[in-house]
Symmetry: C2
Subunit: 536 residues, 2 copies
């Protein structure tokens, strides 16, 4: 894997980027959709860019852990939001990290944090850099001498597997494929598959409360954590391995979602699964979107706990599943390593039918031990498409197309108004700013009391103005979310980008408590300044 | 209900206390069990006790909310642990609250907290007083002028029901039966049934992370909360109603388990259920305890999510279920308002059989709509026995019998050693201190990665020495729990009694963060001093 080169400006491996032919094809398709002519440009080359020189020297004791390599600094400048990719594409790297550190051990990390405290350097934890909210940026303000990006990628080992309790102790820098590869020989899987799977780490998931594979019950990585170890400037914090506890407020829940502001997560015990043997899936079509919502709510409140429960609106259905014209498409899936899931999916489908759903393809049941390789292949194909989407976004950036997603969660009662207000606000903004565009919606996760809707926006941008154009659309969407009672993020985190809205959403006393907790753990304020709380 | 008089020293309503005949019967049974003669004594009468006079006056503006009634002060002196009931029984009321306040509105509560801050009076939030960990005590140390017990009982209304999202906004002072009574006309239930159901409140459950009805998934009240409102000395904190979120560390999770140290919870939006229509239950016997543990682990890891999954050891099985001599008895239950649960329980039973389980009574399936009143009656009978247990404890106290419970949670891997070490430590202590005694174990909740074992201890005590005798046993049990990797509490909370062990269990940086959060929200430190953190 180390032989593959990762793009310094776009999503993933350079050898997996869209070919020029694919880019042209996308340009043709999106151009036709928006009634404009699109042509691709090339990103600035790294060689053509001037990076500001590092503002601090590497101390000799830590020199072997730090690098000022141009490519490394450029690649660690941003995460992978649309905004980030556009800035990288245009070569706007105003605030690269002064140096990039790669600790190999916790002792290395402690030494790096001590250096940062002593030298007043901001410490920016970096997992695999796929933040879409400005969570790994180094524009930390004037009160720091500089910024050190601390890449945990070398701490990527599965340290211990407890087969009896079905749990593993894993280092925070392990990317999705890297930890799954190590769990496989033990016969287990974490089954946490965010879209960023390839380029995100356990530590990043924990720090941002990432949403994963399970549409119900274990929706966030939070639910798969047994204990965590966090290196704070005030010392390491390690919670006991406990399946459940009621001893005071949960220590882990303070660090889950702390986004590097309280310290750096170094390892965690996480709950594992056996690979599923039995699967059931169905695509349920509804002629009216409202029927699809009502059916999904019924399934979410049924106690059946589907693994997949993804309601796509008409636009998503056409785009992602080639489903033609429908009001909504519910992609239902159950899986189990323990039992056939027939009774589960049959009841879920019954609920859907009672709300007007139709199943042209029926229910598909499979058992991996009786040779239904076709199912596995289909799932693999879906996963490949799912994981490939960010590569397509790079191509769209090259075409000047605005392409971004945002997500929220709200109660079932509030959803119709929230959906209408967001679609209306974004459509108005797109028309005004871009002259055209589309917004689609799917549910990524569902709860008994409400869904987590995920919106995708595409619009024709103008090269050089993409950021301000998208900024206006994003502001309109964010205002609509807050006004309609949603959360500014369900699983993309807060970072620097969502801060103004997070500040309004968060209860003021909790903000004061969190700021006080940060002062206690990070008295000099070096840990990811500007994220969650104001930079000093 | 207001007409019934609640015991000032023992568990519940005076008219529900054990009759003298029942007390004698218990004395005979326990005496025979331990080979001693037991005779019942009467508690001190309230009239015979001297209570220290209140150390502060009620200000005229708040006089209508405060009382110095002797009975009220005595009844608010302790919670309902064994230690509390013994102290009440002997008339040891060294630190009663100086006054008892009963706010009717949030404005009342704000005024009371302002008074406490101004006058340096400790504010001790009181739900229905069934803390078993010293959570509502008023022995707050010399840095306060006195202590005000703030009884939330008058704030007990269901304020709003959202049928679409299946959630309700409920005031914190509502006791279990009071809130269920109000939800019933809407066709919903919270289904949170701790053993203290009759004498505990929503606010108390939230403040202590109470464990409830569900053996899996929704094990704690934490999992049923959508948003909370907390009045802190620094102002009210109200989170958004969100089914899920990833916007920073969860505000609710800071207040869940805060045990009144950060402020007073005044209301919450909680998730509701429809009353279950379909039920399935089975009693599975194992000749060896280890087989029962292995079977329970298999069920807990199966993804079947039973509502009840209570593994009783031989002693518990004989005591609670009259099951005769067995190694273990697994009480399995599934329930649903949506679908018959046959396939679920059948698979769970299959797993149990694979681990040596036998079902002399088979699987019982029921549907409330087809007239199986017998099942409802049996469940009701079980619930009555369950809720009656604390009344029996009062009788045992009158007999000088030590009777108490404690609980923990640990991984499946650690459980055999933890169980052995606790049983050995407690048995040794009982033999040494009491000359006899018994310890039994059941699982109240189970997780994929471990169980929550709940221990019950009975032993012959000596009148006047019960507290020191039990103190030694409890210390032995608590040391064994910590040494074996458990938590000092799974759902009984920390209070003042578990503090020394909680302090050792809690990561030091988290303790610093929590203390800092408290200083931010409660700068004068009036909120339940001595709980979770040292009193000033």
């Amino acid at each position: 894997m180390s032989a593959r080169i990762r793009s310094w400006w776009g999503w993933g491996y350079e050898d997996a980027a869209c070919s020029e032919g694919e880019v042209s094809g996308l340009g043709f398709a999106f151009g036709a959709r928006f009634g404009v002519a699109l042509s691709a440009r090339a990103p600035r080359t790294l060689d053509s860019l001037e990076l500001a020189p590092p503002r601090f020297a590497a101390p000799s004791a830590l020199a072997h852990l730090m690098s000022d390599d141009r490519r490394l600094r450029a690649a660690h400048t941003y995460g992978k939001s649309y905004r980030d990719v556009v800035r990288g594409f245009h070569g706007e790297l105003a605030h690269p990290p002064d140096r990039v550190a790669e600790p190999r051990t916790e002792a290395d990390l402690v030494a790096l944090l001590e250096f940062c405290e002593k030298e007043r350097v901001a410490a920016i934890p970096y997992g695999a850099g796929s933040s879409v909210v400005g969570g790994v940026e180094c524009d930390v303000g004037g009160s720091f001498r500089g910024a050190l990006s601390i890449d945990l990628g070398a701490m990527d080992r599965v340290l211990e597997v407890d087969r009896v309790s079905r749990a593993a102790r894993i280092q925070a820098g392990a990317r999705g494929p890297v930890l799954e590869e190590q769990l496989k020989p033990h016969g287990y899987t974490l089954r946490h598959f965010p879209q960023s799977f390839e380029f995100s780490t356990l530590g990043g998931w924990l720090a941002t409360r990432a949403g994963g594979h399970y549409a119900t019950v274990y929706t966030h990585i939070d639910d798969l954590v047994e204990s965590m170890r966090v290196v704070t400037p005030s010392g390491p914090s390690e919670s006991r391995r406990l399946p459940g506890s009621g001893a005071g407020p949960s220590p882990d829940r303070l660090f889950l979602g702390s986004e590097g502001t309280l310290g750096v997560i170094t390892e965690a015990w996480v709950r594992l699964q056996e690979p599923p043997r039995w699967r059931g899936s169905a695509g349920v079509r509804f002629s009216r979107y409202e029927e699809g919502v009502a059916a999904t709510r019924a399934v979410a409140q049924s106690g059946l706990f589907p693994t997949n429960c993804r309601l796509l609106d008409g636009g998503e259905a056409a785009l992602a599943a080639g489903a033609g014209v429908v009001g909504a498409l519910l992609v239902l899936g159950f899986e189990s390593a323990d039992h056939p899931v027939g009774p589960w999916i049959e009841r879920a489908v019954e609920l859907c039918r009672a709300h007007g759903g139709e199943l042209p393809g029926g229910i598909k049941l499979s058992d991996t031990r009786v040779g239904e390789k076709g199912r596995g292949g289909e799932v693999e194909a879906w996963r490949t498409t799912f994981l490939r989407a960010p590569y397509l976004r790079d191509a769209l950036v090259r075409l000047g197309v605005i392409a971004e997603t945002f997500e929220t969660a709200c109660t079932w009662r509030d959803f119709p108004a929230l959906h209408a207000q967001i679609v209306s606000a974004v459509t108005d903004a797109l028309t005004r700013i871009c002259g055209a565009g589309a917004i689609t919606c799917r549910f990524t996760h569902v709860y008994p009391d409400g869904p987590a809707p995920y919106f995708t926006v595409y619009a024709p941008g103008r090269f050089g103005s993409e950021l301000s154009m998208w900024g206006e659309v994003k502001a309109a969407a964010s205002e609509a979310i807050l006004a309609a009672g949603g959360t500014i993020t369900h699983h993309h985190a807060v970072g620097r980008d969502h801060r103004p809205y997070y500040d309004r959403q968060r209860p003021a006393p909790f903000a004061a408590a969190l700021a006080a907790a940060k002062r206690a753990l990070d008295p000099t304020g070096i840990c990811n300044p500007g994220v969650l709380l104001p930079a000093p």
